[in-house]
């Protein structure tokens, strides 16, 4: 009896050890080669955006461009591509952990700019895999390079771009005596429109700025006109001081306009603190006329408002600015190949397949994502969202500047999201707020030497 107990207890202890051992190993991405024993080569793809299932159920999964590309690539290269969908919240933490362990994806979908730069220790430089001709179609490629420098290593290949816009309800505009195809070039025109809308009993804006994003888009737009496409890199950590006149001017312009919005009730009462997007319901019903947003909003807006939605670039605060007709338009995401991948060449080939012109066009049509190459002929596409087409037209004018928060450190960007609404509400002065942002604009790896 005692012996049986001992054997049972020993077995239980061994099982526990076995369980611990099992927990430590067996990650699903461990084997990325697989070809040594004659099996198909396996590539692991961490997906952060591509549709593998149509949420609306309109397009069969096998017809989605990403799935079709995978299938064709697998057949042509006798390989297998494992797609692992990752949410944005998890992706970066997991990518870091995988990189430290050198045991993760072969290809990953990352936000371009600061995020990709932050993780470059795990990213394969791609310059040698691409010809100049292959890269020539991409606009503003510096955002995908190390330190954003034209001669920096190419860390990722762009997948899509975004623009920052004002979207408006055409019926509401018409009701206030404004043109249905309005394009305000200056802030004064926009303010004038706000007054007319108010007089017509329509709230000019629906804004959510509890997360600071609307403020960031507006400051980004003013930075674009002040700094221009090259000068914006002055905002890199360790370069110019953000408390200097240029950035202060950009922030002051938006903060003052924000104060006018609050004082004149040109937006929902809680716009500086709310993050609830139910405020946009009033835009759909015409009680509110405009909202700030980006090209990623086009799909939802067109679904809700149809041809009744219009878009324009954010107007300039001062037309004497050197870059007054420039907008915030930038590569949003890029595909990277990990430097610990055992199949880098094949991974790069798949990246090329996912950044071909045919792929871009089909994805534009199916997913509403703007291609990262400019001036493509989109006229042949069916069921094209006209708002999205307007965004692409804006981007294709090639007067794009990267958003300031893709240039500064992540910490400084996050700090600005907190401080801008505080500046508008008067809880903190512009000077004090910018000072706090500047204190955070330090490259992480140099924090110890600069602080």
């Amino acid at each position: 009896m005692l012996k049986a107990k001992r054997i049972f207890a020993l077995a239980a202890a061994l099982m526990m050890c076995g369980t611990m051992a099992a927990c430590g190993g067996g990650a699903n991405t461990k084997d990325t080669s697989g070809s040594s024993n004659g099996a198909k080569t396996k590539l692991v793809f961490w997906n952060g955006s591509y549709k593998t299932v149509d949420d609306n159920g309109v397009i069969p999964s096998e017809d989605l461009i990403f799935n079709k590309t995978i299938k064709a690539f697998e057949e042509a290269n006798n390989c297998e591509i494992e797609v692992v969908d990752q949410t944005a919240d998890n992706l970066y933490t997991l990518f870091r952990s995988a990189g430290v362990a050198a045991n993760g994806p072969d290809i990953a979908f990352l936000w371009a700019g600061g995020y990709t730069n932050d993780y470059r220790d795990f990213i394969e430089p791609l310059d040698s895999y691409f010809t100049e001709d292959e890269l020539s179609g991409f606009a503003s490629l510096d955002i995908c390079r190390a330190d954003f420098k034209p001669d920096g290593a190419l860390l990722g290949v762009p997948t899509d771009v975004t623009t920052i816009n004002i979207f408006y309800n055409k019926d509401a505009f018409e009701q206030a005596g404004l043109p249905r195809d309005a394009q305000f070039k200056t802030i004064d025109e926009l303010k004038d429109a706000c007054r007319k809308l108010t007089d017509a009993g329509i709230t000019p804006f629906a804004i959510i700025d509890g997360n600071g994003y609307a403020s960031a888009w507006n400051v980004g737009a003013t930075c674009a006109t002040i700094y221009g496409p090259e000068g914006i890199f002055e905002l890199l950590p360790g370069k110019s001081d953000l408390t200097g006149p240029k950035f202060t001017e950009a922030v002051t312009r938006w903060v003052n306009f924000g104060k006018e919005i609050s004082e004149n009730n040109w937006a929902n009462e809680d716009w500086l603190t709310t993050t609830a997007d139910d405020v946009f319901m009033q835009l759909y019903t015409g009680q509110t006329a405009m909202r700030f947003g980006g090209s990623w909003d086009c799909g939802n807006l067109y679904n809700e408002l149809g041809d009744n939605v219009g878009t324009m670039a954010l107007p300039s605060y001062d037309i004497s600015d050197e870059y007054s007709d420039y907008i915030v338009g930038q590569i949003a995401n890029n595909l990277v190949v990990t430097n610990y991948s055992k199949n880098k060449d094949l991974a790069v080939e798949f990246v090329k397949a996912c950044t071909s012109e045919e792929f871009f066009l089909k994805r534009y049509e199916q997913e509403g994502q703007l291609p990262s190459t400019v001036n493509m002929d989109i006229s042949s596409l069916e069921n094209l969202n006209p708002v999205l087409a307007d965004c692409y037209r804006l981007f294709s004018e090639n007067k794009n500047v990267i958003g300031y928060d893709s240039i500064t450190s992540a910490d400084a960007g996050a700090e600005s999201y907190r401080q801008f609404p505080q500046m508008i509400s008067g809880a903190i002065s512009i000077e004090e707020g910018i000072k706090q942002i500047q204190e955070k604009n330090v490259a992480v790896s140099t924090a110890d030497t600069n602080e």
Binding site: A9, D121, T273
Partner: protein
Amino acid sequence: MAQPTASRGRYYRMRRRWGKIFVAPAVVFLLALMLIPIVSVFVLSLTSWDGMSTINFIGFDNFQHIFHDKTFWQVIKNNFIFMFIGTPVWTITPLVVAALLYSGIKGAGFFRSIFLFPTVLATSVLGIVFKSFFGLNGPINAMLKAVGLDFLAINWLGSGSTSIPLIIMIMNWAGFGSATLIFLAGMSSIDESIYESALLDGAGWWTRFFKITLPMIFNVTMFVIILNVIASFTSLFNYVFTMTNGGPGYDTTVMEYMIYLKAFRSNQFGYACALSVILFVVIMIISAVLQSFNKRKDWMD
């Protein structure tokens, strides 16, 4: 007689040996998953590690920077506000409810179950639900307006002065059931004859509560207070994350949330570890002070 003694000795030696063998996996498990990470946090707090590249030791620079950072002082102040307002609320509410239930009110069993219900809900879910309830155009404000209390229909999450008390109340609603059970367990250990004697002497409900119940469950009360103090430093993340994102500004940012922001949003792991060490020390000091008030040594039992 010698034979049985030797046999017993061998038996106990064997028991000890097997005991060590069986305990070994658990010890390894604890070392690997608890002790090593805790020690690592202390070590990493002295580095500028970004979670990826090589680890550079920078001495106490992180701590120096933290103590010079105005944001840190605001954040720690927020934690103390939660502690000083939250702890009494989170302690007194379940104490009163437990006393009422213990006094044998009608339907005590039913209420005991109902009060425990919120504790089974995920705190992040509660945060999201209450955020929509207390939105400027949410149902609570709509209700207040409907009954003519327009002046109370405010932007609840629009400033720290309203959102911190709101979070405290939500935490109270969500957690008082389990604290009530702890108090009830303490009350049920009081000898009934004491109450009977008090009744014979003509003591009323309040007298019995203040003169008998409260002193007799002093140790349990201290235990709940310490749990609540610790909760005011370590259980706020989900509510802050889902309801306010620490804003507006840093009005509702607490240490846990700041550690998360530094580690996972800014890749400043060394800095985040230093914040964790400070949080650990603060909680340890407060707990030690509270324990020193507790004269009785047996309450943990």
